[in-house]
């Protein structure tokens, strides 16, 4: 059995490496800016969804407030750059660290709650973060913050009009989150977290520290979400509470994982690859008139996929069963 698992995990790593190699070179052939933009956003949300998967999928805690960690990451990295001149190449990691800290801070009270009580508490925490940033003048309040345009360089993580370097940056982000999930899956922590998800009482009787498990999963998830938020801020060049902290981001971060397959390595990526292009294309082709057709399509798709494939789209590819270690 052990052998089988090790072999399968090695195979997954090789497949991921091959896919990464393809993903590094293939976009070089794409010149269309709109297409590149959609790919960049899809990759970014694949990474964010993977980050959510760590707490929501592996540890089973349905957080609907991840926009706070996302927004914290982008605000911290942006303000460090604008106010203190710290280059974003360092700032994004500090943004991530603050995201992780925020997740611990939120987790400390919220993990006393379980089930729906936890989910609703995270919605509320997200809303509190949004309202505070909206009314906080030091961070730009409702006006937001512009990221000054600097000379394209790796230190500043700014590349002017060239989209390809951004694409590689988010690709590195996706690879990092995937690798983190892969490492967790095979580690002692990963087993403990899945035990927490499946049966709290049984996990406790086996000596798993429930609270510590949730906190650790939450911190790692928050770190990567903050990192993604910082990268997103750099990419769009302007942040305000509505564009990085609004509640719908929390849904958008969780949704690819739910559609693709919770607690699976490939679910978040598959879900984002489907959801984000559909959302972007429908809002640019149908949403322009402000008639809400894009929202109807988006909502209907969520309902249909959730009902038709509750175990996630990843199950269409056969392979392993949901939740198997």
């Amino acid at each position: 059995m052990e052998n089988f698992i090790t072999r399968r995990r090695r195979k997954e790593l090789i497949v991921a490496g091959l896919l990464l190699a393809v993903a590094v070179f293939a976009p070089m052939a794409i010149r269309d800016v709109t297409a590149l933009n959609v790919i960049i956003l899809s990759l970014l949300f694949a990474g964010l969804a993977q980050a959510w998967n760590i707490i929501g999928g592996y540890c089973g805690q349905i957080s609907l407030g991840h926009a706070v960690y996302f927004g914290m990451g982008s605000y911290v990295s942006t303000l460090l750059y604008v106010q203190a001149g710290l280059p974003p190449s360092a700032g994004i990691f500090i943004g991530g660290a603050v995201g992780g800290l925020a997740a611990l801070l939120v987790g400390w009270p919220c993990f006393r709650l379980s089930g729906h009580y936890y989910a609703i508490a995270t919605v509320v925490v997200g809303e509190i973060g949004y309202l505070l940033f909206l009314n906080w003048d030091y961070v730009g309040g409702a006006t937001g913050v512009y990221i000054p345009i600097a000379k394209p360089s790796l230190i500043n993580l700014q590349f002017g009009k060239d989209k390809l370097p951004y694409l590689h940056l988010v690709l590195a982000f996706v690879a990092a989150t995937w690798l983190a999930a892969w490492l967790i899956e095979g580690s002692r922590w990963g087993y403990a977290w899945r035990a927490v998800k499946d049966d709290v009482v049984a996990a406790r009787s086996l000596g798993v520290n429930i609270f510590a498990s949730k906190m650790a999963a939450s911190a790692i998830s928050g770190f990567f979400t903050g990192l993604g938020g910082a990268i997103y801020g750099l990419y769009v060049g302007y942040i305000d509470p509505d564009s990085v902290m609004a509640g719908h981001f929390s849904i958008l971060i969780a949704l690819p994982t739910v559609l693709g397959g919770v607690g699976t390595l490939w679910g978040p990526i598959l879900g984002a690859a489907l959801l984000i292009p559909l959302k972007e294309l429908s809002s640019s082709y149908l949403g322009g008139s402000g008639r809400g057709v894009d929202l109807m399509l988006y909502g209907a798709m969520i309902i249909v996929v959730a009902l038709a494939r509750p175990q996630g789209l990843v199950s269409l590819f056969g392979g392993r069963k949901h939740g198997a270690p």
Binding site: I62, P109, R112, L113, S114, G115, H116, Y117, A119, I120, A121, V123, V124, V125, E127, I128, L131, L132, L134, N135, I251, L255, V258, V262, G290, R291, G292, V293, D294, L295, M296, L297, Y298, G299, A300, M301, I302, I303, A306, L307, P310, Q311, G312, H322
Partner: protein, 291 residues
Amino acid sequence: MTLETVLQVAAGGLLMGLIYALVAAGLSLIFGLMDVVNFAHGELMMLAMYAVFVIWQASGLDPMLQLPIVAAMLFLGGMAIYRGMIARALGVQFNRGMVQIFVTFGLAIFIRGAAQFVWGGEFRSVTNTWLSDRSLNLAGVYFPLPQLAAAAVCLAAFAGLLLISRTEFGKALEATREDREAVALIGIDRDRIFALGWGLGAGAVGIAGVMLAGFYYVGPNVGASFALIAYVTVALGGFGSMGGALVAGLLIGEVEAFTAVVLEPSLKQIGVFGVYLLVLMFRPRGLFGKL
């Protein structure tokens, strides 16, 4: 603050709190029955408000007279949502919790888009009703009549829900909640009870929506903020507890009203959320929650 201001603010909080309580009661009823949080609850309220607006525009019928019509529409709509979607979501084998959350989320987004498609994004309001611009002066404290009527109707609807829970049907509801499998053995059709539960929940929020339409603007996003307050109310009162919803609704109405005055109006929800988190620290299952 003078005593008069305090009383005036308290009166405003009381009237709003009763509306919150009824919105939350519908949510709590559905949750207590089948462990499903309806994330489209606010959107059902929004639909009720638009229904009032459309009927008022077409026929000039006063919102008060529309109450039974719109409540019945919402009742049927709630049953249809159960039959079409929720029954299916309850039947899935995997990730049942997540499927339920995201199916109702998807429904919320769909309804919001549909409202925007049909009525556009701009705010609408019902004007010149029987009650608009009138108010009752009680010892120097003003009670605007639309709000007062809304609060009274919500209280009556709340009492109605409590009465229903004492009837034969209410006992069947209670039994289904206690043990879904066992009720089938004594001849209770679980699916029918659940569908009626959804009808009642949607009808309750529909009544709140009708009364709210008498003094509040209607727009595709109006449901979202009310729904958030409703989730907080239900979690604060305790999922599945009707009395809890009433107490928590009133508490939230007051906290909101006083935060708006003491801090500033744009921060009024911060006070509500703060109190909610504080209470959950000491009572993780809300004030009256057993589940």
